[in-house]
Symmetry: C2
Subunit: 452 residues, 2 copies
Amino acid sequence: MTGGTRRNRGKGVFSVSIARIVICGAGFGGLAAARAFGERLSRLPPVGELLLIDKENYHLFQPLLYQVATAGLSGPDIAIPIRSILRRYPQITVRMDRIVGFDLEKQNVLLENSSVGYDYLVLSLGAVTSYFGRTGWEEYAVGLKTLSDAHRIRAQLLLAFEEAECAEDPGRRKDLLTVVVIGGGPTGVELAGAIGELTRHVLRRDFRHIDPTKARILLIEAGPRLLAQFPEKLGRIAERRLKSLGVDVRLSSRVQDLGNGSVTLAEETIRSANILWTAGIAPHPLAAALPVPRDRSGRLLVLPDLSLPGHPNAFAIGDIVSLPNVPAIAPAAMQMGRHVANLLTAELSSGVGPPENRPAFRYRDKGMMATIGRAAAVAWIGKAVFNGPAAWLAWLGIHLVFLIGFRNKVIVLFQWIWSYLTYRLGARIILRSEEVASPTRRKPSTSSSTEG
Amino acid sequence: MTGGTRRNRGKGVFSVSIARIVICGAGFGGLAAARAFGERLSRLPPVGELLLIDKENYHLFQPLLYQVATAGLSGPDIAIPIRSILRRYPQITVRMDRIVGFDLEKQNVLLENSSVGYDYLVLSLGAVTSYFGRTGWEEYAVGLKTLSDAHRIRAQLLLAFEEAECAEDPGRRKDLLTVVVIGGGPTGVELAGAIGELTRHVLRRDFRHIDPTKARILLIEAGPRLLAQFPEKLGRIAERRLKSLGVDVRLSSRVQDLGNGSVTLAEETIRSANILWTAGIAPHPLAAALPVPRDRSGRLLVLPDLSLPGHPNAFAIGDIVSLPNVPAIAPAAMQMGRHVANLLTAELSSGVGPPENRPAFRYRDKGMMATIGRAAAVAWIGKAVFNGPAAWLAWLGIHLVFLIGFRNKVIVLFQWIWSYLTYRLGARIILRSEEVASPTRRKPSTSSSTEG
């Protein structure tokens, strides 16, 4: 056995040694690991059982989150119950609970009211929105990492137009009809493009006192171009495309300060009732609290097999991991999850040598893509770059393939076709906080504990 | 002109007298009135303009609300943006605002921060959950009238199973796996049936430590039979069908008291973490505050033309109205809305005699129906009663026809087919209150102001 001591459990007549694997977080990495474990464990003698812990009861398909924020999809379209995904693997137990910390020495995951021991640990905690340590900024600019964020942005945007329709004061109306997206990465580009579509097409004929097509949309990027991770050409194409949607793209423009309804740039201060933040992410605070070396951005410096230095039975995968040339995107997290599942099931079924002999994780680059509104996308696959309708169709197809659940695929596809043909969006409803008030026996909490 | 003074507005070269009609509430009655006005006004010279006010931006298809509460549908599937429904009627303006009262003498609708004058008023305020004046009961038992209620019930039910899966204490686990539905009308019957399906089929294989099929479901009805408004035979059929789903139906059983997690009946006190209330509705508090005679249940005693006594330019429609032999159901509200629209557009286009000569409202009974889980329903159309799969198919078809929006019809139909074939539900996600936190510039409020 590498690392931890196996717990002995009575199983039937014979007492068999079963390893307990705990995965923390049901994002792309954690879920890919769980499914790979599930497939492999069901073909082995009873050597391992798995517990997956997440604070939500659903896996969130984050790449389409911006469409929930812009009223194209509803939450359940991209949020799939974890239990339902994993129901056919009898070795897997799912637990909805809040993780508060880890004891790597005693091999315990600390939960809100209890703790769980493990033989092997897989940390798939994901990233959270980061405001670069600027306190208070989260009050002024909503991020887009959780379903909560997406619902808040949707309510804020739609309410701004409702309020503008009734506003008497022209200054107030102008603030309400100004949207500022901060951060020109894929999320910012997709969000600004979708807001452009929303105002230019979807809401166009719905108001009597305001003209939504006159709404001002700004995309602020500190660097010299959009989509910095992509080849330069694609950044230029995205910029052109956003400008044709009426988005005011500001490059090399750093946000100096944020206030309640105001964004201060070097050149001017913009008043806006809708400030959205996609400029930074950071590893989950629970990962940052581990006694493990980290890189400058706080991500964990793992060994080549993805285990934590000094803890060969604990692994980290996904956005909390720092590896050269591996981007913080869903495909990389999924590959890491499968790597750990393969490595551990091999060890469990046939015994192991020393940790040094474990295979190293190898990232296989499958490319990156982003959409910019209607029938436009940029993609970068291998050495080739694509854009235009072909890239957009590829984007649609790939996202449908990876979205889990046949039901969700059909519903998302139908809504895409519907809004493409009619310029209408299906989830234009404003849910307010009291709409989903927590049942009394669980207190709502503002901390986020897993990437789910 | 009957009633109010017309406001004069400059229109083009000629100053034409345009009547201002204000509809309060975008439920079934208000929306039917608005659509009928929109159709008729667009074919007339400019004689009238219409303002529709609702505190939400969506029309809620309440008959399917119990399916949102039981995770079969998501909110946007049955909540359609009001602006989008009415966009093609240029004479109609939609305003999302909170109504706080009415000044029938000065002909003003009082809003949170302003007021709106009217020549004609149509009150379509709808009903709210009533706990028969028992203070505190709303803390212990959630009603089902709004999208907020449905999301709260869904989160509460799904969380109960999640918590039961982790619970160590058998007593606590039992409470969590007990659901009490109070009220044996159509909503209570449909809700209990759907919860039966959820626990017996949908969640069956998803847990490792609990058996959801063993969950205890009770339906408590104070009267001697279920579906008191329906013919007796259908009440018996519903009862049998619910029992076959494992629902413990208690007739002639009055709730003596409610507490935090307990329901006290004459024969026993039941501990339950999921107490749902469908036992009573009352007219909206804004209707109850009007200086107009009311019946014993607080509904307005209107004149035969649906106008308020002494206020011939103010009308009331839907669930706030007391009329003999007219049930508080959607078709009646819609018929009333169309009656008022017809009556007023006739008056506006051709002048009027005295209010006494106005046509009286005539309710055309199209029947009533309720579903009880999978492939079962009861229907009562004219003198005929139906049940079984044929009634269920009729129920599906009629609800699809009346659900507004092609997109919504397709999505709801697909989800029904999907869950029928697979025993899976698509909206099994737990949204917590912070998930849709209100934007800071509007304070969340707990009062409900329109039937929308």
